[in-house]
Every structure is written in structure tokens, then in C-alpha cells.
């Protein structure tokens, strides 16, 4: 039964304005929201033309027909694939190879080199040799093949020119900034930062994926600019990833994430995702997001498409799928990152019963028994 006293909780004018698309009309009482919900239900019930299953099926059949050709092949391995899909497959042991000698292995070294582009215009390629680079009088950089450390004092360094570190596909890098902050940089990532922090804030820019352990300094906040967002650090270790949707995962400390005019404060074990203009927050197991900086390959029940996208960046190989349905297979992978991609491919191939064939820097993914030379 309806209680007529509810009427006094309804501003009919406001509701009518909202129904006409007036976004300013907001802040509804629960009565008003019930009314809006009911109104929505009326719209559905009064909808014209009604939805017709006849038309729907006709249209569906037409569209489906176009895609049918791709899906004619059905294999006996379906049962195995199903098992992998339903449960994920946990593989920890490397798989012994029994491949013919003629087959190419995915064991090529990445082709790119780490580049340091300095604010003064110089550009240095980082190779095997350790080198020391002097910037002006105040800053000294010690560079190895996979590490870089800045030392210097703000007093002596002039200007606000930024250095840029470019990590190509296939390589990972670790950097110590002049304030002592440690940054792990994943493949295909660019990091921009000043040689010394002499502004009111410590600003760095990430395009790609990086893990930060920030040296606390309340007087000079640390701000990471990544994707469309800004991360204001309140003493912290966290991972930021701008491949696809910008994802920030906090492992310790506190973090303020701002993007698209929205703001979220993160506690450890929380993550923000900036998607379609919305900054959402969720609680996650942080391990899969940070395992890379500890030298692991860790994926829990992740699609093959996503895993191969990561491997492509991480090993400087391209993947091609013969059958796009394979992209949706899900897999759990947990192993130390091998030096050669081939080792990881063997584990995945065995687990999902799929084949990888390698040609130069391209890996072709197909159902087992297909696509081999």
C-alpha cells in the first residue's frame, strides 16, 4: 500500500525537470528516486515499437553468418582448452622441449638500447660499460647497462630542464633519482624527470609502466604525472601503468590520485583505474601488478591476449593470432622471468595446448598441431 504522506517528500517540479534532461536537478530524496525509477519502468513498459524476437533473430543470423567462416575448424583439443578456460592452469615447472632442430626459437636479444636524453641536448646510449656522466657542475650520473643513479645538490644545479630516459621494448631498468627515490622502469616506457629537484614539488612524468619507492620529504611533495592523471605521493611505494587504461596500485604508504577532475585517496592494497573519464577505486591483490619489478612473470587467470601483449613489450617480439578465439583463453603463469621468451612460451603452450611458431621477431599463435613448419 502506498502512504500518501510520502507526497511531501517529492518536489514534482524538480522531478519533471530531471525527466526533461535537466542535469542541474539533483540531490534527490529516496521518494523522488523511487519515482524516477518507476518512471523509467513506465518508459520500458510503454516502449514503441516493442522489441521483436523475430526481427532480432533475423538480424542476428545475418551478422553471425559473416563471422562463421572463421570458426569452422573444431578440434579434438577442445576438451583440454575447456579445462584451461574453466580453471586456469597453474604451471610452475619449466617444460622440457622436444622440438625439432629446424624450428626457430624465441631467444633473440632485444634490438633497442636504453637512451638517456639530457636536458642540455646531449644524448647517451647506455651499453655494457659503466660510465660516469657529468652535468654542469652540480650533477653526476653513474650509468650501468640496467641502472642509473643521480647525485648532486640542488644549490649548484641551474635551470629546470628535464632528462628523459627511454627504455625500449625488451629491456627493464632501474633508476635512482637525486633525492634518493628509487624507480623501476618496465619495457617500452619513458620517464621524464629533472636531474635535481629544485622546485616546490618533485615532478616526474611516466609513459608506460614504473614502480616507485619514494623518499619521503614533506616539504617537497612528490608528484607523478601518468596518462591523464596525477599521483600525489604521501610517502609511498606504488606501481603505475599507462598501457591501456591508466592503473595505479599502492603497496605501501599513502597516495592521492587525481584524474579527470576526480580524486581518490589510496591505502595499501588499493588501486585506481581511470577509464572512460571515471576514476574508480578497488581493492586488489597487488602482487600481480608489482611482480615484474622483482623479476617475475606473474599472471593470475589472465587472457592470452593480455599476456602476449605484455610479453611482446617485455621481450621485443610481436604476436599474431591465427584464430582470434585463442586470445580469450585464460591462463595462470607464475615463474621467474626467463632470459629467453622461449621458456615462457613452452610453459604456456603446454598448459593451454596451443602452438607458438617463431619467425624472426614474430610469434604466431595457433591451436596445437597447426601452423608448424
Amino acid at each position: 500500500m502506498l502512504d500518501n504522506n510520502d507526497d511531501k517528500n517529492i518536489d514534482w517540479d524538480k522531478v519533471a525537470s530531471r525527466l526533461d534532461g535537466d542535469k542541474a536537478a539533483g540531490d534527490f530524496t529516496s521518494e523522488e528516486l523511487r519515482l524516477l525509477a518507476a518512471e523509467r519502468e513506465m518508459k520500458v513498459r510503454l516502449a514503441r515499437p516493442e522489441f521483436s524476437e523475430q526481427d532480432g533473430w533475423r538480424q542476428f543470423s545475418a551478422v553471425r553468418g559473416k563471422r562463421r567462416i572463421v570458426r569452422i575448424v573444431r578440434l579434438a583439443v577442445a576438451a583440454v582448452v575447456l579445462l584451461a578456460v574453466a580453471t586456469g592452469v597453474w604451471m610452475m615447472q619449466p617444460v622440457r622441449r622436444a622440438a625439432p632442430q629446424s624450428e626457430q626459437l624465441a631467444d633473440a636479444k632485444p634490438s633497442g638500447k636504453v637512451q638517456l636524453k639530457m636536458g642540455d641536448g646531449r644524448s647517451v646510449e647506455l651499453g655494457e660499460e659503466q660510465q660516469t656522466i657529468q652535468q654542469g657542475s652540480g650533477v653526476q650520473i653513474t650509468a650501468g647497462s640496467a641502472t642509473l643513479a643521480y647525485s648532486g645538490s640542488a644549490a649548484k644545479a641551474a635551470g629546470v630542464r628535464m632528462d628523459t630516459l627511454v627504455i625500449p621494448r625488451g629491456l627493464q631498468f632501474s633508476l635512482q633519482l637525486s633525492d634518493g627515490t628509487q624507480v623501476w622502469i618496465n619495457s617500452a616506457t619513458t620517464l621524464r624527470y629533472p636531474p635535481v629537484f629544485n622546485g616546490a614539488t618533485r615532478d616526474v612524468y611516466v609513459d608506460g609502466e614504473a614502480y616507485f619507492e619514494v623518499k619521503a620529504n614533506a616539504a617537497q611533495p612528490f608528484i607523478v604525472h601518468a596518462g591523464e592523471g596525477q599521483l600525489k605521493v604521501l610517502g609511498t611505494a606504488f606501481n603505475v601503468n599507462t598501457f591501456g587504461v591508466t592503473t595505479t596500485t599502492l603497496t605501501s604508504g599513502r597516495l592521492l590520485v587525481a584524474a579527470g577532475g576526480q580524486q581518490q585517496q589510496l591505502d595499501p592494497g588499493e588501486q585506481t583505474v581511470f577509464r572512460n573519464g571515471t576514476l574508480g577505486k578497488q581493492t586488489v591483490d597487488t602482487q600481480p601488478y608489482t611482480a615484474w619489478k622483482d623479476g617475475d612473470l606473474l599472471f593470475y587467470d589472465v587472457s592470452l591476449a593480455e599476456i602476449t601483449r605484455y610479453l611482446a613489450r617485455n621481450y621485443d617480439y610481436d604476436f599474431e593470432f591465427n584464430d582470434t578465439s585463442l586470445e580469450n583463453l585464460r591462463f595462470t603463469l607464475d615463474m621467474p622471468r626467463p632470459a629467453n621468451l622461449q621458456v615462457a612460451l613452452d610453459v604456456i603452450g603446454k598448459g593451454l595446448d596451443i602452438g607458438f611458431s617463431v619467425q624472426d621477431k614474430t610469434v604466431r599463435v595457433s591451436k596445437a598441431g597447426q601452423g608448424k613448419h
Binding site: M42, R48, G56
Partner: protein
């Protein structure tokens, strides 16, 4: 294989025909755009078709499909950028209650709503249907009927007040959920 509620295997087409309209209505409830609703449902069935050998639905198909359709519809709304996040949350909460479980009951309710609509004075009914069925703005309704926007708005308010009394069943159940979101 696809399972009907009784556990009997049904063909893909049967399943499509059984649920198409229901799913379109569920999508429409959220996106309020008929073409978008049809696209969302079609995409869902294409997904099912492509995956028909790889996925098994262990719960019954209807609840799985409704969940998938609602999620896809909410994502569509989010992407469209036309609706604010707060409102999407409200719509999401409301969508828990529509459509309701019993199909026959559902038809009876639609009939009851139409009966109530037909009992309204002619101009009010016209205005109400132009707004809710054709999706016209108040301004356009005013122009078409040669009346003022204020009159349109008044008629809408009166129609809502009337239908709220006549179709009280549409109002039930929502309070706890909405309350949770806004208070909690």
C-alpha cells in the same frame, strides 16, 4: 550445451527467441535507447555464439544473461558520457528490480499501466506519451501541441501523480537499496 530451466537441452535459436525480448527490455531500462539496447543484446548473443563451445553456464542462463546485459548497458551509459557517475549508480541499483522474475505477472503489469494511462484526460495522456514513448523534449511537445512549456510540465507532473497512485506496485522495494547508496 545450453540448458533450459528444466535442464532440457535447447537449441541456440530457441534460447535466443526465449530471452531476446526480455533482455532488450532490461537493456532499454538502463540505456533508454532502443537501437542501443538491440545492439547490446545482439553483441551478447554473438559473444555466446562464438563461445558456445568454450563456455559453460553453470547457473541458469537467464540470470547469467541478465547480469551480462545489465553490465554491458551500464558500461554503454558510462562510455556515452551523458550520465553522471552518481546517476549510473542509482540506475544500477534500480536495475536490480527490473525486469521482475515472473513473466506472466510482468505482462499483467504492462496491461495495468496502459489501462491507467488510458484513464487520464486526453491532453495529459498525449503529453505523457509524447514524452515517454517518443522521447520528445518538453519544448518540442509544447510546439507540436501549441501549448506552453509550463502547461507541458504541469501535465507531466499531474500524470506522474496520477500514475504513482494507480500503479503503486512500481514504487515498492526500491527504498532500501537507494537508501544504502545515499545514506551509507
Amino acid at each position: 550445451m545450453h540448458q533450459s530451466r528444466s535442464g532440457k537441452a535447447v537449441t541456440f535459436e530457441e534460447q535466443f527467441r526465449d530471452y531476446y525480448v526480455l533482455l532488450c527490455r532490461a537493456a532499454y531500462y538502463i540505456v533508454l535507447d532502443q537501437d542501443a539496447a538491440r545492439d547490446i543484446v545482439q553483441d551478447f548473443f554473438l559473444y555466446c555464439w562464438n563461445k558456445r563451445h568454450d563456455i559453460r553456464i553453470t547457473r541458469d542462463f537467464k540470470s547469467y544473461a541478465l547480469r551480462a546485459i545489465k553490465n554491458a548497458s551500464l558500461r554503454y551509459l558510462e562510455k556515452s558520457g551523458k550520465v553522471q557517475l552518481e546517476e549510473i549508480k542509482v540506475i544500477e541499483a534500480m536495475s536490480e528490480f527490473f525486469p521482475e522474475d515472473d513473466g506472466r505477472e510482468d505482462d499483467a503489469r504492462t496491461a495495468a499501466l496502459w489501462a491507467a494511462v488510458s484513464r487520464m484526460p486526453e491532453q495529459r495522456r498525449k503529453v505523457f506519451l509524447m514524452s515517454n514513448q517518443e522521447g520528445l523534449k518538453y519544448k518540442d511537445i509544447a510546439e507540436r501541441l501549441g501549448i506552453s512549456i509550463n502547461t507541458v510540465k504541469t501535465q507531466i507532473k499531474l500524470a506522474l501523480q496520477f500514475l504513482r497512485k494507480e500503479c503503486g506496485w512500481m514504487m515498492k522495494l526500491l527504498t532500501p537499496v537507494i537508501g544504502l547508496i545515499y545514506v551509507g
